[in-house]
Amino acid sequence: MNSIIALSLFGIANLFLGFLNNRKILMPATLAFILFALGLNLADWNTEVLWFNNMLRTNNLSVNFTTVILVATLLVVAISRGFGDDEEHSHPAEYYAIMLFSVVGAIMMVTFENLLMLFIGLEILSVSMYVLTGSDKRNLRSNEAALKYFLMGAFATGILLFGVALVYGATGSFSIYGIGNFVTENRMGQSEITPMLYVGILLIIIGLLFKVSAAPFHFWTPDVYEGAPTIFTAFMSTVVKTAGFAALYRLLSVSFVGEYGKWVYLLYFLCAATLIIANITAVYQQSFKRMMAFSSISHAGYLLMTVTSNQATTQSSILFYSLAYSIATVTAFAVMILVSENKTSNGKPDESFDAFKGLAKNNPLLAFALAVSMLSLAGIPLTAGFWGKFFIFSDAFKRGLILDLIVAVLMSAVGVYYYFKPIIASYMKEGNIQEITIKPIYKLTLIITTILTILLGLMPDLVKSIF
């Protein structure tokens, strides 16, 4: 909770730092801010507090989710390289500030107690993301992506808000526990069942599925991921996804758990559909960035599976998966940023798989980091991704979601096909990539994420026992 206040203040402080002529100070300052917020967040461990007239709740679950979000942010900021020195295009102070603000929104989405706070958090996060997506202002693709994102996002927000209104109308409460109690009593036959409640639940679920890009509300994802500057794509695919799933999980497991029988089949089929559409379309991508977009959709499918199973272990599965996925995704994008800048086609960065050809020869570290992250995303053993998938599959197995399980296992196999493309390109194809110079902090980030991925693959209980 204190981290929300701190990050808001730091965001403003960052804007003022922009007045300084020395741009080099921005990135270290932002890193320090995030680390400070992380410390504040961890200080809330093992305390359960309701804030501001029951608007927000901090407990171990929210601390864990906040930690994952802040770690992902930290990694993204560490590979941002100060957003270049171009006077006209880049406004690092503003970018960093907006990133911090959006993290505030994300933290609100994992700590909300009142549906209004969910809405506000979601909007803070989304509006920040619209801006960041369009931040490459001379680039048409970036502009188009921002507009698309905004249009789809506004649509989703409307639906979510309508859903919140309907649920309030049916239950008379904005508090997730209040709604939960009402729904449970409703089940017990003590009050009248209204269709309004069901429609409300449905619309809220749809609104959140938009944000986490599950099928059939995923269409914006590839265009936006491809158009946005890569650094913000990395941010979007880690922080937004984690926050969205935290919100979805909390709503479904606290408020609407009494109506589990109603929504489980819906998510059951959506999960299978998401997995199939995402993985099979990903096979046909030539651009690494677009492939990562579909990969992000498919991971939404896996996460949806554990949310659907609604087991006691679901929250720790979501947390572990989000962490493993975030680390691997940031690593992959970090390598891609370097490689695509190094190799341009038609004046634009080359983001296809071909750009990785022959990477391993002169840049063994980059190739290795890329390979480990791809293996982790594909869920190969001895990487964190394997355990992430494993925990999710065992949740689904316990609930007996057999169709989802079969689809998920098959689609994991399909995933191996496209995740191996960059590995094959960098290790087995001939290419002429010269040695790329990497800044120490960037290199350190790559090394840390790679080690973390392998370490979590060897000893998942290191963090799983905390979650």
């Binding site: 509300f217 099979i280 000893m459």
Partner: protein, 634 residues
């Protein structure tokens, strides 16, 4: 320091050093050796500290670390700290440190020095893993890692043919044993419902099917057959001498080959009486065969290699005949020092001969002789270590060998059946043969005239502290004085109920006989091997001729009957293969190709929706919402 932190740091230091050396790469060749030695120093210090703090007779600490949890089952990464662990930690670290010191000079000209030290540390890491772990599964993982690092080190000079072949052979032979070991672990887990060594040692075995238990013990022993070079998989060890000599000292004399013995000591409670008899027989065969082959080697390292095979056989016999592993473990302990010392001496001699700059086989003992004057330190140390190997008085080897003999006599007296006397007398025979080949080796290398005409003997010298210091220390550890202190501190008194009253006399008589005949044969025949092999003509008439005629018969049988049937079988196979190939093409390949085609067409459809028009996205989303509402309504 808490035992948790200490054991983790002991285990992980070599791994860390290995990774650092690897990442520094060839540019820092010179640094790699010193880094590695610093790591070994730290580890040795930690091990000694650990020993001082936690070694009491009956103390047994198990440290459990949750590895990962699946549902309710948690998988545990655990350390077992007891007397054996602490002693082995000392042995491995001390020998590793001395060998690395030796390697500094011995290997300094190599351009891949960093790789050498990185592999060496990888090996130490895996060996320490075997020593520390409490879980058979984890032990298997480290067991394989030890095999891998041994492979890498034997084949260190991968550009030549022989080391490559030897490395492959060692790896494959070990794999055969490991397959049995893995099956044994599975069977043990199935039977005993646990893979924890501590739990196994507390089990009550009376409720368990004895046949299956025997099978478990024998399958686990397969691991030892592979790693500890027991008959019939012993042949990889002499070939492994193609690796650098310090590696032979560390891995193929002191530590890795001892892993099998160590494992047997650990699983001792599982071994049934039947299993022990089989193990004892295999150990006896290995011991006698190794000693016999050692006699006829002309290569300085191969003699030592066969001698190692023989001594490992002796340890296996000791385990099989005793009620606990103490006697074998004691010999493992003393053997580690004197055999490593012998190998390092051999390495120093080879190094000195290489330094002369001439090209010849520097390992051939027939081209040596009279080196005592030129390399006095090596001569003294070699003799001390050899004396320990023979079991001469005032050496550590005497004590540990004698306890094995006592254990064997004890066993024979307890069993009340005549044939069990085979084991103690086989050991006595082995002792005699050991004395025979050891004295001959000393005479070949150090006594008489220098027999290599290419080299001027005055150019041979020993001056390097890095070569001499480890050798001197190892020799001191094998003789009364330092050696006595070490054995008193690290080894436990072995309780023996009964023994033969002539045990000591028979042992010394055997050694004396071996020494005398060894000296006499040298006096009589010099270095000429064919003359020494006088027994061969005896064998020739009885065994070889009959074997040859039998072989001839087999050859005709082979070419007439077996070959023909093989040829027809081959033709049959070709036809069969054609059918399979057709089946593969049309069905097996058809499935992935067909599914790829299906995926392709689906992908094109989903791709089609992804056309970039935002209006269309809205329509899709709206249709989605609509269908979901309809779905919910029903």
């Amino acid at each position: 320091m808490s035992p948790e932190i200490t054991s983790w740091s002991i285990l992980l230091t070599p791994l860390l050093v290995s990774l650092i050396i690897f990442s520094l790469g060839r540019k820092h060749n010179a640094l790699s050796g010193w880094l590695s030695i610093a790591g070994a120093f730290v580890n040795l210090g930690l091990s000694i500290l650990f020993f001082v703090n936690y070694n009491t007779d009956l103390q047994r600490i198990t440290l459990n670390f949750n590895w990962f949890t699946l549902g309710k089952d948690s998988y545990i990464f655990s350390f077992l700290i007891d007397h054996y662990t602490l002693t082995m930690l000392f042995v491995v670290n001390v020998v590793a440190l001395l060998v690395q010191l030796f390697s500094l000079e011995y290997m300094h000209h190599d351009r891949d020095l960093f790789r050498y030290f990185a592999y060496l540390n990888l090996f130490v890491f895996s060996m320490l893993g075997i020593v520390l772990t409490d879980s058979l599964f984890v032990m298997y993982a480290f067991w394989e890692l030890v095999g891998l690092s041994s492979y890498l080190l034997i084949g260190f000079w991968y550009e030549s043919h022989a080391p490559n072949q030897a490395a492959k052979k060692a790896f494959l032979m070990n794999r055969i044993g490991d397959a049995g070991f893995l099956l044994g672990i599975f069977l043990a887990f199935y039977l005993l419902k646990t893979n924890s060594l501590t739990a196994i040692s507390h089990l009550d075995f009376t409720q368990i099917n004895p046949t299956l238990l025997t099978a478990t013990g024998l399958l686990l022993f397969c691991g030892c057959i592979g790693k500890s070079a027991q008959f019939p998989l012993h042949t990889w060890l002499p070939d492994a001498m193609e690796g650098p000599t310090p590696v032979s000292a560390l891995i193929h004399a002191a530590t890795m080959v001892a892993a099998g013995i160590f494992m047997l000591v650990r699983i001792h409670p599982v071994l049934t009486v039947d299993a022990k008899i089989v193990i004892a027989v295999i150990g006896t065969i290995t011991m006698l065969m190794g000693a016999f082959y050692a006699i006829f080697q002309t290569d300085i390292k191969k003699t030592l290699a066969y001698s190692t095979v023989s001594q490992l056989g002796l340890m296996v016999v000791a385990i099989a005949l005793s009620i606990n592993g103490e006697a074998a473990f004691g010999h493992l302990f003393s053997h580690a020092f004197f055999k490593a010392g012998l190998f390092l001496c051999a390495g120093a001699i080879i190094h000195a001969l290489h330094q002369t700059g001439e090209v010849f086989d520097a390992q051939d003992m027939r081209l040596m002789g009279g080196l005592a004057k030129k390399t006095p330190i090596i001569f003294v140390c070699f003799t001390i270590c050899s004396a320990a190997l023979m079991g001469l008085p005032f050496t550590t080897g005497a004590e540990t060998k004698f306890s094995i003999l006592k254990v064997a006599f004890d066993f024979a007296l307890q069993q009340h059946s005549q044939w069990t006397w085979v084991f103690p007398f086989a050991i006595i025979l082995g002792i005699s043969m050991t004395a025979f080949y050891s004295i001959r080796q000393i005479l070949f290398i150090f006594v008489g005239n220098f027999r290599n005409e290419k080299v001027n003997i005055s150019t041979i010298q020993e001056r390097n502290i890095f070569l001499n210091l480890p050798i001197i220390l190892l020799a001191l550890a094998s003789i009364i004085g330092l050696g006595t202190i070490l054995t008193k501190v690290f080894l436990v008194e072995i309780p023996v109920v009964s023994t033969w009253k002539y045990d000591a006399i028979s042992e010394y008589f055997a050694i004396g006989l071996g020494l005398l005949t060894g000296w006499l044969t040298y006096q009589q025949f010099g270095i000429k091997m064919p003359h020494i092999n006088t027994m061969d003509s005896f064998y020739d008439s009885i065994f070889v001729k009959s074997t040859l005629s039998f072989a001839h018969f087999l050859h005709t049988f082979d070419s007439k009957i077996v070959d023909n049937s093989v040829n027809y079988l081959a033709k049959l196979q070709v036809v069969f293969a054609q059918i399979i190939a057709w089946f593969d093409r049309s069905f097996i390949d058809g499935i992935p190709n067909g599914s790829a085609a299906i995926v392709g067409s689906v992908g094109r459809v989903t791709q089609h929706f992804q056309n970039g028009k935002v209006q269309w996205y809205f329509v899709a989303a709206f249709l989605g919402i609509l269908s979901m509402i309809i779905f919910m309504a029903f």
